[in-house]
Structure formats: structure tokens, C-alpha cells
Amino acid sequence: MVKILSIPHIGSDNGKITPRKDDKTSMLRAVKEIEEIIEENNRIEESIKKENETSRD
């Protein structure tokens, strides 16, 4: 028998979340780190693609 007809757990807190307060230096550092990760991953993806094309040929 189906008992659940409604969503049992809905938030009721109308209070605001503490606003973000980022340390600018650590944010800039984190963004740079992530951009390097993205670039490195794209290089790996590119080399996999080339390898696959070479093996197909």
C-alpha cells in the first residue's frame, strides 16, 4: 500500500544563508589551479584523440 503521498521533508527555514565572504587571494589562487587542471585535462583528451586517430589509420 502506498503511504507516501507527499514529500515528507520540506525546508521551512526562511532565514538567509550566511553570505559568501571569499578571501580574494585564495579565490584567485583556486581559480588559477582549476584553469591549469582544465588545460592539462584537455591536453590529455587531445592526445587520446590523436592516438585513436593514428591507430585507426
Binding site: 502506498v2 507516501i4 503521498l5 507527499s6 514529500i7 515528507p8 521533508h9 520540506i10 525546508g11 521551512s12 527555514d13 526562511n14 538567509k16 544563508i17 550566511t18 553570505p19 559568501r20 571569499d22 585564495s26 579565490m27 589562487r29 583556486a30 581559480v31 589551479e33 582549476i34 584553469e35 587542471i37 582544465i38 588545460e39 592539462e40 585535462n41 584537455n42 590529455i44 583528451e45 587520446i48
Partner: protein
């Protein structure tokens, strides 16, 4: 690659937990411009990672180096905010997810995966302080989730444009959905 932000009411997205779907994380991981654009759009909010989304993002990677890069990316706690995790919250989310699946089934929405349902369930728990960003609007249907913004993204090679939608749970619509479900079930 060119992310283009359409009009977004900042008051709807400021000071919120922004639950990212895996397809959004995949976009951010492959494109620096998209990453920076999303960071900028949600600069006043918390980019939140549900633990199951982390699992989905990391799974099926073959190369150890890529796995390491993905872990470094998603575990950067300056950028991303891990969703709160404990047994009670997980149990509550599971119950919400099941209830949502009943409402979806009544409306003939069957595409949402377990992970989509869990993201939605968490957003409901954190209502009204949560929003969701996804590429798959159909998995967060309009009868329960309102669109509060759209990020368009143009692929450099194909010039195809994809839409990433920002949605928020609508409690009033949810009540109507429950009423109509109860009428059907007698």
C-alpha cells in the same frame, strides 16, 4: 567556446546552495570560459556538490592522471561546497526522492535518474535556500520547478547551442500536484 548568460534575476540566486548537476560539472571541467562564467554568475552563492554527483562525475575514468585531475577539480573547497552529509539527512532525502518519483510518475515523467531525484530531494530539504543548475530540464519538471535563469553555451566546433537551466522548487505547485494525485488515488 562561448558561454552567454541570459537575463537572470540575481535576487533569485544570491545566498543559495546551488546544486550542480553532473552535466554542468562536466562542462565546467572541459571549458575554462564556462567555468569562469558559472563562477561569476553564482559569485554570491555556494556551488554545492551532492555526494552522488561527485560519484557520477568521477566514475568510469580509465587513466590515473585524469582521475587525479578530476579529484583535484571537484575537491577544491574554495570553489565547491560539499553538500551536508549524515545518515538522517540521507534517509530524509531518500524519502523525498521516492515521493517525488510518485508525483513524476503521475505526470508521466520517467526520465529522472536516481541521482536527479536525490538532487531534487536535497533542494527540497533546503527550500527556499536552494537552486539547481542542469542541462536536462525535463528531469526537474516545470510542474514542480520554476526556471529562474538560463545559461546558453555555444560549442566552438559545432556551433551548437546548449542550454543550462537554473531552477527552484515551487512549493505551491507541489501542493497542487499532491492534491491532484490524491484525487486520482481517491
Amino acid at each position: 567556446m562561448r558561454p552567454l548568460v541570459t537575463e537572470i534575476n540575481k535576487s533569485h540566486i544570491a545566498n543559495k546552495y546551488v546544486f550542480l548537476d553532473t552535466n554542468v560539472l562536466n562542462l565546467m571541467f572541459r571549458d575554462k570560459d564556462a567555468f569562469n562564467c558559472i563562477l561569476d554568475v553564482f559569485s554570491e552563492s555556494y556551488l554545492t556538490i551532492e555526494s552522488l554527483v561527485r560519484f557520477e562525475f568521477l566514475r568510469d575514468v580509465f587513466l590515473p592522471k585524469q582521475r587525479e585531475l578530476k579529484e583535484l577539480f571537484i575537491d577544491n573547497e574554495v570553489i565547491f561546497f560539499p553538500s551536508a552529509e549524515h545518515q538522517q539527512l540521507f534517509n530524509d532525502a531518500k524519502e523525498n526522492a521516492l515521493a517525488l518519483s510518485f508525483i513524476y510518475a503521475h505526470k508521466d515523467v520517467k526520465s529522472a535518474s536516481f541521482i536527479d531525484l536525490m538532487i531534487a530531494a536535497k533542494a527540497v530539504i533546503h527550500f527556499p535556500n536552494a537552486i539547481i543548475v542542469t542541462q536536462n530540464r525535463k528531469d526537474f519538471p516545470a510542474f514542480l520547478f520554476d526556471t529562474v535563469g538560463v545559461i546558453n553555451y555555444e560549442e566552438e566546433k559545432t556551433r551548437q547551442i546548449s542550454n543550462y537551466v537554473i531552477v527552484s522548487f515551487n512549493k505551491e505547485n507541489y501542493k497542487s500536484a499532491i492534491n491532484s494525485l490524491e484525487k486520482v488515488l481517491g
